[in-house]
Every structure is written in C-alpha cells, then in structure tokens.
C-alpha cells in the first residue's frame, strides 16, 4: 500500500479546505470505530456523505463563487464535527446492544439445556401423571362382554 492524501492537492481554498477534509476524515474514524463496536452507523454515514458533497461542491464553485465555497466548507466542517460527537453515543449503544445479544444467546442456551435435562430426568414421570389425569374417567371393559 502506498499512501498520500490526494484531496489535499486541490487546496483551492487553503486552510478552510484542509480543516473540512481533516474533520470529515476524523469523523469517519469515529464512525468506523463505532461500527466496529456494533453500532448502527447508517444515519452517520449519510450525514458524512453530505459533508463530503459540500466539500466537492465547494471545490467546483471556488473559482466562480468563493463566498459560497467558503460557506459550504464551513457547513461541511460543522456536519463532520456533529457526526464525530454523535458517534460516541452510537458506539456505546452498539456495545450495549452487542452485550445484550450475548446475554440473550447465553440465556437461551442455558434455558434449553435446563429444560432438556429436566425432560430427560423427569419426562417419564410427568408423562405418566399427565396420561393418568387425562384418562382417569375412562373405564376399561372387556371386549367380549
């Protein structure tokens, strides 16, 4: 793997562009780790892509409308910072949900094994008692009477 930061080569609006770029990339890192912890990052990715679109629009319009470009970069930075902040709660929500899923699975396994053990040890007795209760009013007659 070879690495550079390609988007930086278009630093048409200087520092503001660099700030927006690094905010988006930093927010992406936060979202990435939130996803690794099991969080649902769909909404965050959507917002981050809005920030990316704003940066790309700013690059396109910089030559003709620098004020609009500057506003777009500022909005992109704000969105990216919000995404970074929200990713913390998504991350902890994901950890909690993952833990709950673990407990749920282990609980199901424990309950299944318990029921199976009970059925194995006491199944016969329970079945006979039930059978007697169901058929207690039945009378057995000789068939040739």
């Amino acid at each position: 793997m070879i690495s550079i930061t390609p988007i930086s080569s278009h630093e048409a609006t200087g520092g503001q562009l660099a700030t927006a770029n690094s905010s988006v990339n930093s927010a992406f890192s936060s979202v990435y780790y939130a996803e690794q912890k099991g969080g649902d990052v769909s909404a965050l990715v959507e917002k981050l892509n809005i920030a990316v679109s704003l940066i790309q629009r700013a690059l396109a319009e910089n030559a003709t409308d620098p004020n609009a470009a500057s506003a777009d970069l500022s909005n992109a930075t704000t969105i990216a910072q919000m995404v970074s902040m929200n990713s913390t709660s998504v991350s902890s929500g994901g950890s909690l949900a993952r833990q709950l899923r673990l407990y749920e699975s282990l609980g199901t396994v424990a309950a299944t094994l318990g029921i199976a053990a009970l059925a194995y040890l006491m199944g016969d007795r329970v079945y006979r008692r039930l059978w007697l209760r169901v058929y207690r009013n039945h009378v057995v007659k000789k068939s040739d009477e």
Partner: protein, 157 residues
C-alpha cells in the same frame, strides 16, 4: 415411542436450539475486497468514447463496491496519463489529477456515480486513469488500494 427414541429426539432438538442461539456470536470469515469499474454513458460496459475534442465534456460512470467488512472512505482519482505512464496494482500513476470523487460506502453496498470529464490538451493515445484510494484509519491517510482502470482517448483540436 420408546425411551431411546425419545432421548434421541430430545438431544437433537437441544443441539439445534443451542447451535441456532450461538450462531450469531460466531464470527464468519469472508473474503474482503473492493471493486472498481468504469461504465459508459448508458451505465453499461459499452459506448466508451474513443475520440473527443479538447475541452469537450464526455460522460462516464464510476462503480465502486465495498465488501471489506466495514464502512470504507473511498476516493477515486481521475488522472491524465500518456502512453508511457506507469500504473500497476502496486504503483499509482505519477500523473496530473483531473478530478477526485469521494464517498463513504457501507459494507456490502455499491456506489455508482456520474463523471463528466474533459481533457484540455490534444493528444493521441491519451489515457484517462482511474485509481481507487481508501482511508486507512490507524494511519490516518488515504492509501492506494491497487485497483485501477483506464480508457484510451484520442483528443482532437
């Protein structure tokens, strides 16, 4: 039903339920990869331009697929190469960047996007080189994925 049959049925049901309950906890190993494709103006693998005028816009579509097992921050660099420009799976082209497309793609999703491009210099065997880069989180920079594509153009006056 005799006791032996009942025990076998009970054991089978127990194993089935236990395996089903534990399945989501077992990590699945799958091949991880990204995809890069360049499509023609009708979003198929046909109709690529071969001759364009200088500064004459032409439409292509980019296609990127993410099967990396996590979200990916992709940039596609469009570069203007010549016949001798070197590019490979391990080396990105040392050529001027015409434009960059950037998108964050979730796992198992694709990104198809229009690219209106133009070339500002005349030349035969001009190469439009498309390189896919992705953001490496621990290293905090974009890295060349090794995926690239190209179209050959004659750019006329």
């Amino acid at each position: 039903m005799n006791r032996q049959t009942a025990t076998i049925i009970l054991a089978s049901i127990t194993i089935l339920v236990v395996v089903t309950a534990l399945a989501p906890l077992i990590p699945v190993k799958q091949q991880r990869y990204s995809e890069l494709g360049i499509l023609g103006p009708d979003q198929t693998t046909r109709g690529y331009p071969t001759t364009v005028g200088v500064n004459q816009p032409f439409l292509l579509y980019g296609f990127v697929g993410n099967h990396e097992g996590s979200i990916e921050n992709y940039q596609m660099l469009v570069k203007l190469g010549i016949q001798s420009t070197l590019v490979s799976n391990s080396t990105y082209a040392n050529a001027p960047v015409l434009t960059t497309f950037w998108h964050i793609v979730r796992d198992n999703e694709t990104w198809t996007f229009p690219m209106t491009l133009s070339v500002n210099q005349v030349g035969n065997n001009t190469r439009i080189i498309f390189e896919l880069w992705s953001y490496n989180v621990p290293a905090s920079n974009f890295e060349y994925t090794g995926l690239w594509n190209q179209i050959w153009l004659n750019v006329t006056a």
